[in-house]
């Protein structure tokens, strides 16, 4: 008896927690690995992350390979700058893909690949910021309205009803008239709008199933405060579901940004949506030019689609871990 208690004491608490966490992680990873789709999503996300990170290398490599003899015009025109770049050696822009410009140039003479690469980290920042805000708001409100019930519950649920009434794209279009929708502000607004919406209802339903479990009662009887119970007992138990919704919300946020930029309503200097907007507003997406000038819309559109679906695939994979009813066994 004494021996056993000594062994427990010897190991510090954080080590036990770490071990438990690792064990849980290994089990979930094994489940996750079975889902080929989720692995595919994860690898696409990693690919895009690397793609975005190596962006600074791209102009340097191109400079050393193709612009060795013409450093002066490289310095003046910066042909690989995604916003103010221009290639003076090509006479008619947009020019089709070539060795110097692997994805061609746009009507203003900027390099398309460089624009696509430059936008990648920004899409990540936007999507993840917006989703994080959504999930933090949704989790806290969902947990507390499930725990307190009564007035708090009614208020937030009716608020969610109202927020869900607003077509989010239409409202963002109105907001763009009097708020300059820079990248970060757009992320904030998308995040907040989504955070008070349907996600609170879903997370509240999950929190209600946690609330009736015996350990909440036990914590209450030992004198834990409301805030402690919500933070330490309810939220950790609905966190997997929140994480899942975060993945799905990243998709939504990136899509919304792309559509707003595409319609020319967001104040963002460069993003995948802006690239397509550029092609559309200068008339390259009409009739037969659609096929002729494919490099103006295919790369950016494919990137938006791929990244959005990657996060969705990841979310679907996580759903099977979070929701055991969907598992095979």
């Amino acid at each position: 008896m004494t021996e056993r208690s000594e062994t427990i004491v010897q190991e510090s608490l954080w080590k036990i927690r770490l071990k438990l966490w690792l064990k849980e992680f290994k089990r979930n990873w094994a489940l996750f690995r079975e889902r080929k789709i989720a692995i595919f999503g994860l690898s696409v996300i990693i690919f895009f992350a690397v793609f975005g990170i190596i962006y600074p290398l791209y102009p340097t490599i191109m400079k050393n390979v193709f612009w060795k003899d013409d450093i002066i015009s490289y310095e003046t025109f910066t042909p690989y700058d995604p916003i103010i770049g221009f290639d003076p050696n090509i006479f008619d822009h947009p020019s089709p893909p070539s060795l110097v410009h692997p994805l061609g140039t746009d009507p203003l003479g900027r390099d398309v690949l460089s624009m696509v690469m430059y936008s990648t980290p920004r899409e990540f920042v936007l999507g993840i910021t917006a989703a994080l805000i959504t999930v933090v708001i949704g989790t806290i409100i969902g947990a507390s309205s499930a725990y307190y019930g009564g007035v708090v519950d009614t208020f937030f649920m009716r608020l969610a009803d109202i927020v869900m009434l607003f077509p989010s794209l239409a409202i963002l279009m109105v907001l763009s008239a009097f708020i300059e929708l820079s990248l970060f502000r757009l992320a904030l607004i998308i995040g907040i709008l989504a955070g008070f919406g349907s996600i609170t209802i879903v997370l509240k339903a999950q929190a209600l199933t946690v609330k009736v479990r015996p350990f909440i009662e036990a914590a209450k009887s030992t004198g834990a405060s409301d805030a402690y119970i919500i933070l330490k007992h309810i939220i950790p138990n609905i966190l997997p579901l929140s994480f899942l919704y975060m993945m799905l919300n990243v998709t939504g946020a990136i899509f919304t940004e792309a559509v707003l930029s595409f319609l020319g309503l967001a104040n963002i200097r460069m993003s995948w949506g802006v690239i397509i907007h550029m092609a559309e507003s200068s008339g390259y997406l009409m009739g037969s030019s659609i096929g002729t000038y494919w490099w103006l819309w295919v790369p950016a559109g494919a990137c938006i689609t791929l990244l959005c679906s990657a996060f969705y695939f990841l979310g679907r994979g996580l759903e099977e871990i979070v929701n055991p009813r969907l598992r095979k066994r």
């Binding site: 077509p167 559309e280 659609i290 096929g291 559109g301």
Partner: protein, 383 residues
């Protein structure tokens, strides 16, 4: 049930008033107004502009205008549009509503039928090739950048294959010789589609009464063929056939795009519900009884997994405006979504508010219907 309904309706009315108020003040907060457009126009002097403002009531304080708006709203009057001046907002909405509704109802119906059938089969053969491809392709289309899909479809069907018109609602060359109103032809088309749906519903109900599979099939198929032939004969005999065909041809691409974009939503819902239903005891019993695989799948499992799909369908119909903006812009389809974008660009506040309020009412009604339908279809749910 009645108690629940009355409670819901009171809630809906309160929600609607809060919603209208928020929408009104949001529009009020937009900088500038409709008359600012004429600031740079030398032909319009400041006096005329002031007169314009007075006529539109823009000189009164915002709060007074809000009270006026609410008073008119209670009388079901949404005001007069600025940019289409003498026309009322409500008449503008009702002019454009059928187009959007027709587009979306067709696309949603097709995508739900597709989603139901694919989801059912994917869940039944879980992990097999059909399940994997359907899920993969479905999610890629579900998360695709909608303008990209639209551009691609325009390019493929309009430019390369040259079998479908690129965009717009009608082809002016076809309509030049007549004084027919496109809207009237379109409304007749809508009525025709509605009658077709009703006939199909009735034949489906009749088909349930019949015992054998072959008889069921003949009833459904023959009623569809008969209705279609009768309507085609009617259209051609009145000489309106080419005009109706023109509109239908213009509809194919937007409907195709919307269907591809949205079928995965219903497919995934169907698949996930089906996966849960498949584990129920009654499915095991049905299999143990030795029933054919298809009968167990269609009659025992799929029918019980249908419930979330139906409510999902009703709710998704409510969100036509938001989804319509992109599609209608890409295909220049003169519906509600495009009206919204135009109103936003010309700062036509009454039309903007009217459109948003109308969508709000639409969504609320859809939710109410979904609730009632749930109780009606699922005997376990009683309010």
């Amino acid at each position: 049930m009645l108690k629940f309904l009355s409670k819901r309706i009171v809630q809906i009315v309160i929600l609607l008033f809060i919603y209208v108020t928020i929408v009104y003040w949001l529009m009020e907060a937009m900088p500038g107004s409709f008359t600012d457009k004429y600031l740079m126009n030398p032909k319009i002097t400041p006096e005329i502009r002031q007169n314009l403002e007075k006529q539109f009531g823009l000189d009164k304080p915002a709060f007074t205008r809000y009270l006026y708006y609410m008073k008119n709203f209670l009388k079901l009057d949404l005001g007069i549009s600025f940019s289409h001046f003498p026309k009322k907002v409500s008449s503008l909405i009702f002019e454009r509503l059928p187009r959007t509704v027709f587009l979306f109802v067709t696309a949603t119906l097709v995508s739900y039928i597709l989603g139901y059938n694919l989801g059912k089969r994917a869940a039944w053969r879980r992990g097999k090739i059909l399940d994997k491809t359907a899920t993969f392709v479905g999610i890629v289309f579900w998360t695709i950048f909608l303008p990209l899909l639209a551009i691609f479809n325009i390019w493929l069907f309009g430019v390369i294959l040259k079998i479908l018109p690129l965009n717009q609602f009608i082809n002016p060359n076809v309509w030049r010789g007549t004084d027919l109103s496109a809207q009237n032809v379109f409304l007749n088309l809508l009525l025709n589609a509605f009658i077709f749906l009703v006939v199909m519903m009735i034949s489906l109900i009749f088909a349930q009464r019949v015992k054998t599979v072959a008889a069921k099939r003949t009833i459904v198929l023959s009623s569809a063929v008969v209705t279609l032939t009768v309507s085609i004969i009617l259209w051609t005999s009145t000489g309106l056939g080419i005009y109706a065909l023109d509109i239908i041809l213009h509809m194919v691409l937007p409907v195709l795009t919307l269907t591809l974009y949205s079928f995965a939503g219903s497919m995934l819902v169907m698949r996930d519900t089906m996966l849960e239903v498949v584990r129920e005891d009654y499915v095991v019993t049905a299999k143990a009884k030795g029933l054919p695989d298809r009968v167990v799948r269609d009659k025992h499992a799929a029918r019980n997994a249908l419930l979330p799909l139906i409510t999902n369908f009703v709710i998704s119909l409510g969100f036509t405006l938001g989804g319509g903006i992109i599609t209608e812009t890409m295909f220049s389809w003169p519906g509600l979504g495009r009206a919204y974008l135009e109103a936003l660009n010309s700062q036509d506040t009454p039309l903007l508010i009217g459109l948003l309020v109308f969508t709000g009412i639409f969504v609320l009604l859809a939710h109410l219907i979904a609730d009632v339908l749930y109780a009606f279809l699922d005997p376990r749910i009683r309010y």
